[in-house]
């Protein structure tokens, strides 16, 4: 019998305790996986939405750490930016989180400059796009259509204005699939923000290098006080919601690790105390103290590895369920990088080794003569 088989056998000898410990570890890992997946997905989805639109730089207010940057008058900045070298296009975007149906949660309502490049990445599934900037109509994402049970020809009430749905679109970004889209002019009218946007999207020449991007960012900092030019990744990184989500997932992982260590510590300590005589026999038979440490730590690692794998599966499943809840549909697009999923059971195993270390040391220090006298 190898050491691995021996450790496995020991765990099987106490199935209830082993199962409960593994389950506790699994729950901690599941919570960490779900939260990290949601936080990472939220970040990725925002970035995907910006990247899919083909935006190279985003100009927004300096203090825009809120989910929605505060609005500003677009025209003066737009004209100034168009004069910058390597700038191909500058288009405005107004976004708000609004309730469009009493029974549905608030949705993202986007106003995009009509006929701008922003629309190009969207795929029309049904109906048509707004015919011109002044047409008071909306197009909705596939998730919004499903959530609100709306189709082309239906009416949508936004901020007291009834607007017909003329199209349904699909995007590679979950955030856009769960949104309502109209022309910028219509969004400004609907929200009483004439001439205002909360983001200016800057598209650069394909030949623009990172040095050009840095030069534009520096120039904006100097020439447009109160504004900042950032890449979509930087914007997402500054977003308060993304920051909170990341902090929560990190805190959960930390707490789950500490709780995991304590649980494993307790389980293995109980196990070692119950097996004093058995360990004494092993030592009397000539087992090295190092081998006893390996055995106890191995048992702890096996327990937490099993818990870690189960936790990853539960965490992914839980997130999938959340994604399909009506309340959260279109808002969660969880992202589980393979490296992260592989890392979690390894982290759980390390937690197991940490938790099992003291009980293992205690077991290895037993004097065989003393241990054999124990009942």
């Amino acid at each position: 019998m190898t050491l691995f088989e021996f450790a496995l056998h020991n765990l099987r000898q106490r199935p209830a305790r082993s199962l409960l410990t593994a389950m506790a570890v699994a729950l901690g890992v599941a919570a960490a996986v779900a939260l990290t997946g949601i936080a990472s997905g939220f970040e990725a989805s925002w970035q995907k939405a910006n990247d899919a639109r083909g935006t190279d730089l985003i100009v927004t207010r300096l203090a825009s750490t809120n989910a929605m940057p505060s609005p500003f008058r677009a025209e003066p900045l737009q004209n100034q930016l168009r004069g910058y070298p390597k700038v191909r296009d500058v288009v405005g975007l107004l976004s708000e989180m609004l309730s469009v149906d009493a029974s549905a949660p608030p949705l993202f309502v986007f106003g995009w400059t009509h006929d701008s490049y922003l629309w190009q990445h969207l795929k029309l599934v049904a109906g048509r796009w707004p015919a011109n900037a002044d047409e008071p109509v909306v197009v909705i994402g596939v998730v919004t259509a499903e959530l609100l049970h709306k189709k082309v020809g239906d009416m949508l009430e936004i901020e007291g204005r009834r607007m017909p749905v003329v199209g349904v679109f699909e995007s590679s970004a979950a955030i856009e699939n769960g949104a309502v889209l109209m022309t910028l002019d219509q969004a400004q009218q609907t929200t009483d923000k004439p001439g205002k946007v909360n983001v200016l999207n800057v598209k650069l020449d394909p030949a623009a290098t990172t040095t050009d991007v840095d030069a534009i960012k520096a120039r904006i900092r100097v020439e447009m006080p109160g504004f900042i030019a950032i890449t979509s990744g930087e914007l997402v990184g500054q977003n308060t919601v993304v920051r909170i989500a990341k902090a929560m997932s990190n805190a959960t992982t930390l707490i789950a690790s500490l709780v995991g260590i304590l649980i494993v510590f307790n389980t293995m300590l109980m196990s070692v105390n119950e097996r004093t005589r058995e360990i004494g026999i092993l030592l009397a038979l000539g087992w090295h103290r190092r081998t006893v440490i390996q055995l106890v730590c191995g048992e702890a690692a096996l327990l937490t590895l099993a818990g870690g794998i189960a936790g990853v599966l539960v965490g992914v499943g839980l997130t999938w369920q959340l994604e399909h809840l009506d309340l959260l549909r279109g808002k969660i697009d969880a992202n589980f990088p393979l490296s992260f999923l592989l890392m979690m059971p390894i982290l759980a195993m390390l937690v197991g080794v940490c938790g099992g270390l003291y009980p293992a040391m205690k077991a290895s220090r037993l004097a065989p003569s003393h241990a054999l006298r124990q009942e």
């Binding site: 203090a63 809120n66 505060s70 989180m97 309730s99 009493a102 929200t191 009483d192 923000k193 205002k196």
Partner: protein
Amino acid sequence: MKMPRLSVLIMLAAIALPAAAAPTAAELAAKMREARLTPGFEARFQAVNLAPDGQRSTPIKAAVVGQFDATRRRLVLRGIAPEAIRDEIRAVEYRVDGCSRAADGNGPADPFAPLFGTRLVAWDMLAPWWDWSRQSLAGADRVAGRECVLVRSRADDRDTPPIREVLSCIDADAGISLRTQLFDSHGALVRDITVVTTMRKESGLLAARKVTVAVSDKRTEVETYSGDEHYEVPVGAFAKLEGQATTCR
């Protein structure tokens, strides 16, 4: 003999310095007035009435445009939803000399009348009590986990307005009153406005994002869902107030 005298002086200074640094009620009131100054803002809010049994009403949505300067504060509120209150207008103005006027779509209106069927009152939103001359400190308290200073404001005149006394728990550095209790001439509590959540303005000061307005055992929850701190108030935004009679204290 010199050393003990020096020690006494240091001790006295240590006691006296914090006392000197503590702002008076009048200074706090001035700070609150200053924190509210704005050439123009626009906000949209959703209000839900809660019955004593916890039952929630249909959400009421409205927009508010405001302009607060050193001499007067003006607001115009417009109903958005439901259909029954759509485009219902209420405009209200308060001047620091104590005169005020209000109007709706049909003519003069009562600035103390509840708005759009909620427990919100336009007069409260103008916070005229910060201009009252009788301000006093009333201790300290803690609201929603934040330390705040209690300031009691008393109306100067016996005749107007119906609110005679206001007890505010303020975080003057953040420019926000975390709880405002309004009392009538008999000292009875008329309304209690408590901030539930806040948002940070570009100035770094705080503004209420969600508040609860309680009138006896009935409450209205009000939450701001959209806003513009740099709103350019259109010409004629307060036209409804033109020609309306003013009431002065």
